[in-house]
């Protein structure tokens, strides 16, 4: 009897500890984001003087207004949108296609090609920085959309992942379509793609987030403002501020910086909130990568 109550007390204590830990972890995860958004709506001086008090009655759009005056953020959004749409489309069409070939066909050279895919997964992206930049300048592509879009499109990870997903489709389904006289492309488009829709959704979310947030390659590949993506523009702004070009007192532009960061984070957060189940599935599938 006494051991039983002892156990249930310790179970209850365990549960309290567990939820306590989870709540703390959740709060720590969200706090910087919420702080950024709430502070972007505060008057400049208040961000510094009262960083932890938020009074919705005092909120102002002033930071957003002055931010829009200083940063060509519209251009940044446009450039990011172009890259996301084109690079994303390339990935979403050609990764499943290559994955299909690796999953469902036997062809000479397949093992060699697939081995290459697996090797690429292990390779640090930083290795490519120097030679890719040179390649771009040889092609005359520095500061162009081609440079932002083509390197890194149709990436090996997407191909590998789509292969795993497509392997689960029974061969009989494809053979039945062949007997009915469907061509290979038709089979891909009207059988494979609809069947793997959940996998495609997950690939889509991850691809969007990766391209939208990408920074290392865009900052190296682009030197002019016309082609800067949103992220590059933000970082350039921060550097200008740090070197004092926008004003000696750098705390006076905190509001603007927070407003710009909020604007940059919101599209990806909306996509995340709407599609987070697919994202979590995608990350879990990504653990197959090992």
């Amino acid at each position: 009897m006494s051991t039983r109550t002892g156990t249930s007390a310790s179970v209850r204590l365990g549960a309290a500890g567990r939820y306590g830990l989870l709540v703390v972890a959740g709060v720590v995860s969200l706090a910087p984001l919420l702080w950024m958004m709430a502070s972007s709506l505060k008057a400049g001086g208040d961000i510094i003087a009262r960083p932890f008090s938020f009074d919705p009655g005092q909120f102002t759009w002033e930071n957003f207004r002055s931010m829009l005056d200083t940063i060509p953020i519209g251009t940044g959004f446009r450039n990011t949108a172009i890259v996301v749409v084109v690079k994303g489309a390339l990935t979403m069409i050609f990764c499943p296609m290559a994955g299909f070939a690796f999953a469902k066909y036997a062809f000479p050279g397949k093992r060699l090609l697939f081995g290459t895919v697996l090797t690429t997964l292990m390779l640090p992206t930083l290795v490519l920085l120097v030679p890719l930049l040179l390649e771009m300048s040889q092609l005359g592509w520095v500061s162009t959309f081609q440079a932002l879009i083509l390197p890194g499109a149709i990436d090996a990870f997407g191909v590998f992942w789509m292969r795993q997903v497509i392997m689960a489709i029974p061969d009989e389904l494809l053979d039945a379509a062949r007997v009915d006289g469907a061509g290979e492309l038709r089979i891909f488009a009207s059988i494979v793609l609809p069947v793997i829709r959940p996998g495609l959704a997950a690939l889509g979310v991850l691809t969007f987030i990766n391209i939208y947030n990408d920074f290392v390659w865009p900052v190296v590949a682009v030197n002019d403002e016309q082609h800067q993506t949103l992220q590059v523009m933000l970082s350039a702004l921060a550097q200008n501020i740090r070197s004092g070009q926008l004003g000696a007192d750098w705390t006076s532009v905190w509001g603007q910086l927070l407003a710009a960061s909020t604007v940059a984070a919101i599209p990806v957060l909306i996509v995340f909130i709407v599609l987070q189940r697919h994202l979590i599935k995608g990350v879990m599938a990504g653990s197959l990568k090992g």
Binding site: A98, A103, K104, Y105, P124, L126, L128, S235, M284
Partner: protein, 314 residues
């Protein structure tokens, strides 16, 4: 990996043979079936050849030359490698990345495993998972701005909080030791949720009757964690360590935006040092540095896997 590939290949072949025997009219059909996989992989292969394979071989070649972006390639043998391996700057960048690894990876494993175990039996799992992975999807550059502002020495919210608790203010971005911590905190904040989700996936493969049996044998919670959970998620754990190692040794954007590599090069990671060669137009040197970085990352990943696997065996 090979074992995974093999059965598909044979299955694919079998279905192809079936198809041929199935007597599709004429040779046109089978030729089309043969050509199809090549057409399907062609776009991937083209982009891969042009923007991955070619640059890698180009980088390897460049690493043996003294090249600044124009003129003929002057082959200088291993001089770039010798220069780097005897350069204090190179070793300082490696040491900085090593220090960041120590600050990030062990803490991340500990945190992620604890949270994943807690999350496993909790209600509202979807809600907690979403909150935990949210930082992972946020644009790094935007969050780096927030970090600079939060951790400002004189006016930042973090020091504001510390001093209001009667603690001393910290030079989060102004001393080279604390700047590493600040960058490490940003990496931890952004990627720990990702590690939690990976570990959750690993934990979900452990059948619950294993715990049942252990409980009947009188194993306490701690014992269960240490002798069931940890060994059974070793694979996932090593995956998390490898990902963490790759992330830290390629760290570029975080120190680039938050600290610019400073103060006093205190956060000039291997990745930022590599970038310096690009901005200096020392491209042969940069290529050699890339190659050394690849070797380092591969060696570290393999070592972490080895270490974790040996735990699994014992």
């Amino acid at each position: 990996m090979v074992t995974v590939t093999e059965p598909t290949a044979t299955r694919g072949e079998a279905s192809m043979i079936r198809r041929r025997r199935g007597g599709r009219p004429g040779r046109r059909g089978s030729r089309r079936v043969k050509a199809a996989p090549y057409l399907f992989v062609a776009p991937f292969v083209l982009v891969f050849a042009a923007f991955s394979a070619y640059p890698i071989f180009f980088a390897l070649q460049l690493s043996f030359t003294n090249w600044h972006g124009a003129g003929a390639l002057e082959v200088i043998g291993f001089a770039n490698y010798r220069f780097l391996l005897t350069s204090p700057d190179f070793w300082q960048s490696m040491a900085t990345s090593g220090a960041l690894w120590l600050l990030v990876v062990p803490a991340q494993i500990l945190l992620a495993l604890t949270i994943a175990v807690a999350l496993r039996k909790a209600r509202f799992r979807g809600l907690f998972s979403a909150a935990l992975i949210a930082p992972f999807v946020t644009p790094l550059v935007a969050m780096a701005q927030v970090w600079i502002i939060l951790f400002d020495q004189d006016f930042g919210a973090v020091n504001h909080g510390l001093t209001s608790l009667g603690l001393p203010a910290v030079g989060w971005l102004t001393t080279s030791a604390w700047a590493k911590v600040t960058v490490a905190l940003l990496v931890l904040w952004r990627t720990t949720g990702y590690a939690v989700i990976l570990l959750m996936a690993g934990l979900s493969t452990i059948p619950s009757d294993v715990y049942e049996a252990a409980r009947i044998d009188g194993a306490g919670a701690w014992q269960q964690f240490w002798s069931i959970t940890v060994p059974l998620v070793t694979r996932t754990l090593s995956f998390v360590v490898v990902i963490g190692t790759l992330t830290v040794f390629q760290l570029f954007a975080e120190p680039y935006v938050v600290t610019g590599g400073g103060p006093f090069n205190g956060t000039r990671t291997a990745g930022l040092y590599l970038y310096k060669h690009i901005t200096n137009s020392d491209l042969g040197l940069g290529a050699a540095n890339s190659m050394l970085l690849v070797l380092m990352v591969l060696a570290l990943s393999l070592a972490s896997i080895r270490l974790l696997r040996s735990r699994e065996d014992s």
